[in-house]
Amino acid sequence: MNDLYLIYKNMTRKPLRLFLTCFAIFIAFLIFGAVTSLKSALNSSVELSADNRLVVFNRINFTQSLPISYFQKVAAVEGVKDVTHLNWFGGYYQEQSRQIVSLAVDPESYLRVYEEIVIPDEQKQAWFNNRQGALIGEKLAQIYGWKIGDRIPISSNIFTHKDGGYTWEFVVSGIFKGDTEQYDTRQMLFHYKYFMETQTFGNDWIGWMALTTDDPSLNEKVAKTIDDSFANSQSETDTSTEKSFNKAFIEQIGNIGLIIFSVVFTAFFTILIVVGNTMALAIRERTGEIAVLKTLGFSSARIFRMVLSESLLVAFIGGLSGLTAAWLLVEGIKTFLARFLPNLILDGDIALQALFFMLLLGIITGLLPAFNALRLNIVSAFNRQP
């Protein structure tokens, strides 16, 4: 009779209880996995920001535009490597609900500033040479089944076309990828010049600028130089790192996110406490048997190991199955939620955290009963029996 067999027998003596305990742990980790993935998806834009990239917005608010003349002035600032400008187009495809992240950009400088964009050279050249051309991100192309050479109508919920209506026609010149899996490629990029020539209002204004500095250590100096040079002008600027801008933007969604996550985590831990209590009780009930094992000559250390293994086993059976279910769930809803949360994945970090909590649950619930078993005095244990 080896230890494993004993552990197995102990664990399954009340199959219903084992099932219920594992099920509760399963649920707790299912929720943990799913909600943590949601949370990290929300924060992913912060994680992915380049260290030496700055954004320049109108000081009033980032929805206000800047004069295009600012572009050359910023390019001349010392420490600025490359700079590009972007306009938010407010695009959608056929229906309002199918919003597309679409930006009117200066093509060549854009690709220099956003180095994470990976695109074959001939497609790049084709885009530069075709004023009506657009670069489409891989995921976006997948969603609508667009291929190179397709003519696609994109409408704007902000701008009107000179010819009337809100719809622009673009030609797909290239399809780009990101250099990491997490890079959001549900974007569309097109020529600023084409946009300027064909819209009815907003001429010679740019939405914002993005620039890279020669070195991240220059960030602060460059930002200050830019903001100082436009101080007291018609449009003052606010320059910040891409990271801090993205962070501030997420905070706009507000403490709602924080409240939801804290509520869910409290619940997660409470369920663990409730389950842990049951698990600890299941072992406490067996004080008499442990005394018998000791009488039979089992060493205290061996009993300690057995008790702890059992609780760890229960924690991992429930936890791992819950985590797997969470992974399946996340994979399943990924495409469905892609429009709001592009980076929804249950990654290694989350899995590690979950494993850590499983270990913690197993140890905490097993440790106290295991210690009791270790120190158990055989005579008093038998006395305790009714």
Partner: protein
Amino acid sequence: MGSLIAQIISVTLMNLGSLRRRLWMSLAMVLASAVVVAILLAFLAMAKGFEETMRGAGSNQIAILMREGSSTELNSVILQDQVNLISESAGVARDANGPQVSPELYVIVDGIKKSSGTEANIPLRGLNQTGMAMRTNMHLTEGRMFVPGTNEMIVGEGVLREFSGFEIGKEVRFGKNLWTVVGVFSTGGNIFESELWADIKTIQSHYNRGSSYQSIRLQLDNDDGLASVKETIAREPRLNLEAQTEREYFASQGKQLQYIATFGWIISAVMALGALAGALNTMYTSVADRAKEIATLRALGFSNFSAFCGTIAEAMVLAVAGGLLGSLAAYLFFDGLNTSTLGGSFTQVVFSFEMSPDLFVQGAVLALVIGFVSGFFPAWRAARMPVIVAFRHAT
């Protein structure tokens, strides 16, 4: 019959009396159901508060017109001649000053959130006297109205609560322009309280908007007013506008947080399953613990049914105690909690969590369901276990 009830009562009392013996298990069950109820209530209170903020804003007597194809005011552009055209339409109410039409414009400005210290979007809305008069539920709680043509503004109570630096008399700088806060207004807790209001002409000139606007609000003269306005738009090609009542507009803007309520129900339901597993464990243990007692009772002539009811009653009492605890916690932590989030127009909507009585009812129902289900199966087992077996296993 009377004796059956007496039996049930005495079994129940006995069960409850022996709870102390199973203190930790019982507490676990109370805690489990408390958590589930608290989560549900937190989500529902959030959705409820947001909904109230949105709903209170909309009137059926006011139409809001935006450019065709733009779903929010922010994206819309309307020109002066369009305003003139629509003012002449049938269906628009008139008073001594002419048609009651309010062309409005807003720009998004930055405020500093008190909670996080970071910048967040607030709308600075420009409107005229008519627009002000149209908002019948608006009143100044402090200070005075801004003087048209000056850089004075009044701030909503929500802005005052959630953002710093908008107290009366304070000067606020947006870009090059310095504004003075001269008054605080309330609109009965609805979304307009998340805005700053100032004179429309001043905003147009400060922000290079020429004579353009983003939306037009019309007072409708009767219930068919909207139809008449829509007819005018259809007839006149220069009016590429869409008209809807203000109520419809805000209802559609309020949709997004409804997803949070749904999300809350799903999470609570899944959590409830987990808690149920814990509760069932508790009750099975509780029954096993008392197997001998139950067997004794039945040997004495108590019916199976009374043993069954006693166990269910025990489970329900524990679950309801948990439900009460959870509701209390949710009430203490969440009721009236102020928060804000990005709304449909890309600006902050300030709202409070609202714990209304019907939410408590939903929480109580959930607790009862947990109690009943977790009591039912163990009770069934207790009632059906042969007396002999129970005696044999109880040692």
